[in-house]
Each structure stands twice: as structure tokens, then as C-alpha cells.
């Protein structure tokens, strides 16, 4: 029981962490609440099917190709539809919802409403502490850790990372210091979408794919970033694991109440923000006037 909670909580939390870090990055840099974030995650999962089944490519290369393709689409949609309305914060909301609906409907037309399955990269399983763990799950967790460390290194150790962090801190001053904020925004979007695509490609074999699979992760990601504090990477990581564990605990401990998992996770988020309105590690932004 406890082992199952730990193992599944770590994997779910890891996937949420990948999604939430990407979400919080683009929010921090460009103040965009990208509601299409998990739609890109879904897109990556589905594109593996296209590359592997329709084009007959090997699985590994179709996973990589789908991540690249989604990143390119993400950057294009940022350039074409999100960036032009960036000044109107409410308009961004619907533009990104519309984007998500377009992706959802495109998937529905291409693959139909039925559920699809993606084969695992490595099949088979092992037993850890008496619990069955798929190799794919171990791979997922390993890649998640690696990517998160990579993102952390990118943000902390490179010039690009400094540019991203300073743009997130104060856009105007960053601009005055000679940072190209528009380009930084686009690169951040690319990173953000890549993280979502990697998460999608990793969980695709662990889940059944359906055209509505973006909804639940979206709610969870929103809860995670609020719990951790918007714009804070550290907070997103912690929040993702907290909510991942909360969800897994509901599923494991109350098997008949699996539909409650979202409600419990959101309840946890509410309790936290009622005590700390800016989330666990919230960055208090300059009042923007």
C-alpha cells in the first residue's frame, strides 16, 4: 500500500512537475496563463502514434520527432496568435482556450473519439518492495529527473537562464540592460512547450489517449502552480509532488472514490492558499500599473 503510494506518487508528481515548470516559466517571463499548455502535452502523445503507425518510423525516433514537431508548433502558435494579444490579459485566456479546443478537435478528427494506446519504449516490469513497477515507469521517472535537473542548470548556469530570470523579475529593466525580451519570451515558450511535449511523450504509453485527456492535467497544473506560487520553479516542483501524492493517496486508499482525486487535490490547494495567499514560494510581483 505505502509502496504503491510512493511509487505512483513519484511518477505522477514528476509528470506534473514537468508540466508545471513549463507553465510557470512562461507565466513568469511573459505573464501568459497558457491554458493550451496541456493541449501540447496531448498533441505530443498523439503525434507519436502518427509517426510510429502511419509513417512506420521506429518508436524512439518518432518520440523525438514528435517532441520537436510540438515545439515548433508551440513557437508558431506563440508568434501568430498569443504574442499579438499579449497586452490584453483576459483575451489571452480565450485565445489559449481556443487554441486548446482547436488541438482537441483536430485530434478528434484525425484519430476519432475512441481511446488509443501507444506501445512502451521498453516493455516488461520489475518488482520493487513487492510492487510491480513497469520499466516504462522507471524510465519516465529517470527522464523527468534528468530534464528537471537540465532545466535547473539552464536557468541557473547559462547566460540564457540569466536572461530568462531577469525578464521574469522585471521586464522593463531587463530590456534596458540590453536583453532582447521578445526573443527571450519566444525561447521561454519553446522551452515551456518542449517540457510539456516531453511529459506527453513519457506518459503516452502509461495512459490511454483520448481527445479530452488535456483537461485533468490542466486543472492539476493550475492547482500546482497556485499551490507553489506563480512564477516560482521551486514552488512548482514541491506543489507537483504534494498534489501528485495527494491524488495517488485518494486512488489507493479509497478505490471506490477515484473520481474524488481531483477534488481532494484542489481542496489541498485551497487550504494552502487560504493560509498563504501567494502560494508556498510565491514571488511577489511588482504591482503592474
Amino acid at each position: 500500500m505505502v509502496e504503491r503510494i510512493i511509487i505512483h506518487g513519484l511518477i505522477d508528481g514528476g509528470v506534473y512537475a514537468l508540466l508545471a515548470v513549463g507553465f510557470t516559466l512562461i507565466f513568469g517571463v511573459a505573464r501568459i496563463i497558457n491554458l493550451a499548455h496541456t493541449a501540447f502535452y496531448m498533441l505530443a502523445a498523439y503525434l507519436i502514434l502518427t509517426f510510429a503507425n502511419s509513417l512506420g518510423l521506429p518508436l524512439v525516433s518518432s518520440v523525438i520527432l514528435s517532441i520537436i514537431a510540438v515545439t515548433i508548433m508551440g513557437v508558431f502558435s506563440y508568434k501568430l496568435v498569443i504574442d499579438p494579444v499579449r497586452g490584453h490579459e483576459t483575451t489571452i485566456l480565450i485565445v489559449t482556450i481556443a487554441l486548446a479546443i482547436i488541438i482537441q478537435e483536430a485530434m478528434l478528427m484525425e484519430y476519432g473519439g475512441g481511446f488509443q494506446r501507444v506501445p512502451s519504449l521498453i516493455s516488461g516490469y520489475t518488482k520493487i518492495l513487492g510492487t510491480k513497477v513497469l520499466y516504462q515507469q522507471i524510465l519516465t521517472f529517470g527522464v523527468v529527473l534528468f530534464i528537471l535537473l537540465g532545466t535547473w542548470a539552464l536557468l541557473m548556469k547559462t547566460r540564457l537562464g540569466i536572461a530568462i530570470r531577469s525578464t521574469a523579475q522585471d521586464r522593463e529593466v531587463a530590456n534596458l540592460m540590453g536583453i532582447n525580451v521578445t526573443r527571450t519570451g519566444m525561447i521561454t515558450m519553446a522551452i515551456s512547450v518542449t517540457l510539456a511535449a516531453i511529459a506527453g511523450a513519457l506518459v503516452a504509453p502509461l495512459q490511454v489517449l483520448g481527445p479530452h485527456m488535456w483537461m485533468h492535467p490542466l486543472v492539476m497544473v493550475l492547482a500546482v502552480v497556485v499551490l507553489g506560487g506563480l512564477g516560482s520553479i521551486k514552488g512548482s516542483l514541491l506543489g507537483a509532488f504534494v498534489l501528485g501524492f495527494a491524488e495517488t493517496m485518494v486512488v489507493v486508499l479509497v478505490p471506490t472514490g477515484a473520481f474524488l482525486k481531483g477534488a481532494v487535490a484542489l481542496g489541498v490547494m485551497l487550504v494552502v492558499i487560504l493560509i498563504r495567499p501567494e502560494g508556498l514560494f510565491g514571488v511577489s510581483f511588482e504591482e503592474e500599473r
Binding site: 483576459t90 482537441q104 485551497l270 495567499p277
Partner: protein
């Protein structure tokens, strides 16, 4: 006799001076007239049904506008009010047998209470935090609905509720009249002193507080008012569809209302109403090709907002009217001088 004709003449003069001078007001009056006179042309149940749905959703979208457009407290969980009112009306009607004219106000009252319940904890939150926190409430309530299926009917919902009225035409008039009246009331609220305070809170809460406004009270008021109108919409919906299911609390409904309102243009009240009517009718029109319906819908919304990021009605208003630089009244764009203070326009 002469007194009556004098009143009529005075009324007409007022009408010409206040309504016909501005294209936007003329459009609103024409729109209401068309709605009221439509059953003279057709009483086909299908057309009336579409317009009833559009009116209910228009009322719902306008209530979102009161909270999010005017007061700036962006709500991602507006379906909460709709769903709470829908379930309350349905359960009261079904279990206690209260008549329709009592269940709808009681449902709306329940939605006001819901507004208080989520308003109080959300007072400390602002901006994106508030938006994302409100998202949680309807989803949590959906979980609760599934936990007690004996009362709420679980996934299937509650069905077998009384109709608004026996005839479709009367139902149509009830809904339309309520929508127009409540829309007008909301517009009046938004135009009153309270509305100005709502505006002030959205623009700069700190300054509003520094000016001696009890922002907490007004934010709670906005939550309650918005809940009230959304609750009326929810009650009407449930008595028209005769089923209250978890779909009234769904995430997609909360998103839909934001789409309608922003498409039409926020902080106007009439914008969301126009947005809901246009988009609901568009969706109905697109049923001829059901497989591409949502796709076309999303593309239309996306393209329109790229060209008119402030929404449709705001764009039209800015093209046809200008604001007098001296007295801040609106004038038709063709005028050279202000209609009230005769100052030169632009």
C-alpha cells in the same frame, strides 16, 4: 387627451434624445424589439428553443462580466453559481414540490450564498491566483455530487423537473423578458455609483482603498450580485432543460462563459449578451456539419480576437462613437461637436 399626447410627445423626445442619438443604444432597442416580436413571424419550437438557450447563456455571461469585467475579479469557476442554482431549484422542485416561480429565486439565493462562501476566502487573493482558485470550487462540488448520488443522481443528474410553462411561446417570453430586464438592471448597476466603485477596484485596488472605499465590502457585493444573476440563469436553465446534471458544473461551461463574454467585449454588460447570442447561434448553425463544429467555433473566436482584442462590441462602439473630450459623453462618430456641451470633438 392633450395631457396624454403631451406625455407621449415628451416620451418620444426623451427617446430620441437618449436612445436614437447613439448607434449602440439604437441597436440594443432594435435587438429587444426583434426578440419580442419574433413569435409573430415564427413559433417554430426549434427556433424558440435556440433563442431561449441563447438568452439564458447571455444572462449567465453578463453576470460573469459584472464580477470579472467590471470588478476585475476574474472567475474561472463561474459554473459554480450556475450549478448550485440548478441543483437547488431542481431538488426543491422535485422533492418538496415548490412551484417554478419560487424555486428559481431560491436557487438564485443559494447561488448568492455560494458567492459569499467563495467570496470570503478569495478576498485575500488577487489576479491570477484568484482566477485559478475559483477554478477549484465547481470541480470540488462535482466531486461532492458524485459522492451523494442518492440525492443528486450522480452522473445522470436529477430529471423530471417541472417545465417553466406549458407552452413554448410563453416559456420564450418568460426567459426573454427576464433576460432583458435583468440585463438592464445589471447595466444600471454598472452605471451607478456602485459600478464606478467596481471599476475603481479593477483599475487600482490600493488607490480605491486609499480613497476611503471599503473594497472588501464591494468585492463581496460583486460576488453576491454576480451569483444572483448567474443563479437566475441556472434556475431558468434547469426548468427549461428539465434536467440538472454534473454538466452544469463542468470546466467547459466555465470556459464557455469566458469565451462568450470576452468575445463580446468585457466591462460593457451588453457585450457578453451579444457574444452569447452570436456564438450560440453560430454553434446551432454549424450543426449542419457536426464534426467540424467546435473547430470552426474556436477558429472564429481566435481570428476575431486577433483583429479585435477588446471584443466585438467594444470594437464596433469605438468605430461608431467617440467620447467628448470635455464632458466625457458619447457621441456618434459623424458629429463635429458634442451633443451636450458643444465642445469640438477630436
Amino acid at each position: 387627451m392633450s395631457i396624454i399626447s403631451a406625455y407621449i410627445r415628451r416620451g418620444y423626445r426623451g427617446f430620441r434624445g437618449e436612445v436614437l442619438v447613439l448607434p449602440s443604444r439604437t441597436i440594443v432597442v432594435l435587438f429587444c424589439l426583434t426578440l419580442f416580436l419574433l413569435p409573430l413571424i415564427t413559433t417554430h419550437p426549434y427556433y424558440l428553443r435556440i433563442l431561449i438557450m441563447a438568452s439564458i447563456f447571455a444572462l449567465f455571461a453578463a453576470s460573469w462580466d459584472l464580477l470579472s469585467g467590471f470588478t476585475g475579479q476574474i472567475s474561472f469557476g463561474h459554473a459554480l453559481f450556475f450549478g448550485v442554482a440548478a441543483y437547488t431549484s431542481a431538488l426543491l422542485n422535485l422533492n418538496i414540490g415548490l412551484p417554478t416561480w419560487l424555486t428559481i429565486p431560491l436557487g438564485a439565493l443559494a447561488a448568492v450564498l455560494a458567492g459569499l462562501v467563495i467570496g470570503v476566502p478569495c478576498l485575500r487573493l488577487r489576479g491570477a491566483y484568484l482566477a485559478l482558485a475559483t477554478l477549484a470550487f465547481p470541480l470540488i462540488l462535482t466531486g461532492i455530487v458524485f459522492v451523494i448520488p442518492d440525492i443528486t443522481g450522480g452522473e445522470l443528474g436529477v430529471s423530471g423537473i417541472d417545465r417553466l410553462s406549458g407552452s413554448r411561446v410563453i416559456e420564450y417570453y418568460i426567459v426573454i423578458a427576464l433576460m432583458v430586464t435583468l440585463g438592464f438592471v445589471m447595466w444600471k448597476i454598472a452605471d451607478s455609483k456602485t459600478g464606478i466603485i467596481f471599476h475603481a477596484i479593477r483599475e487600482d485596488e490600493l488607490t480605491a482603498r486609499a480613497s476611503g472605499i471599503n473594497t472588501t465590502k464591494y468585492k463581496l457585493l460583486a460576488f453576491c450580485l454576480s451569483g444572483l444573476f448567474a443563479g437566475v440563469a441556472g434556475g431558468l436553465y434547469v426548468h427549461f432543460m428539465r434536467i440538472a446534471g454534473p454538466s452544469t458544473l463542468e470546466l467547459i461551461l466555465s470556459f464557455q462563459v469566458i469565451i462568450w463574454a470576452i468575445f463580446g467585449g468585457i466591462a460593457t454588460i451588453y457585450g457578453p449578451i451579444a457574444g452569447a447570442f452570436i456564438l450560440v447561434l453560430l454553434m446551432e448553425f454549424l450543426t449542419v456539419k457536426p464534426e467540424i463544429r467546435m473547430l470552426v467555433f474556436a477558429i472564429v473566436v481566435l481570428l476575431l480576437l486577433l483583429f479585435m482584442p477588446q471584443g466585438l462590441t467594444t470594437w464596433v462602439r469605438d468605430k461608431t462613437e467617440k467620447v467628448c473630450p470635455r464632458c466625457k459623453l458619447r457621441n456618434i462618430a459623424t458629429r463635429k461637436s458634442c451633443r451636450v456641451c458643444t465642445a469640438d470633438l477630436d
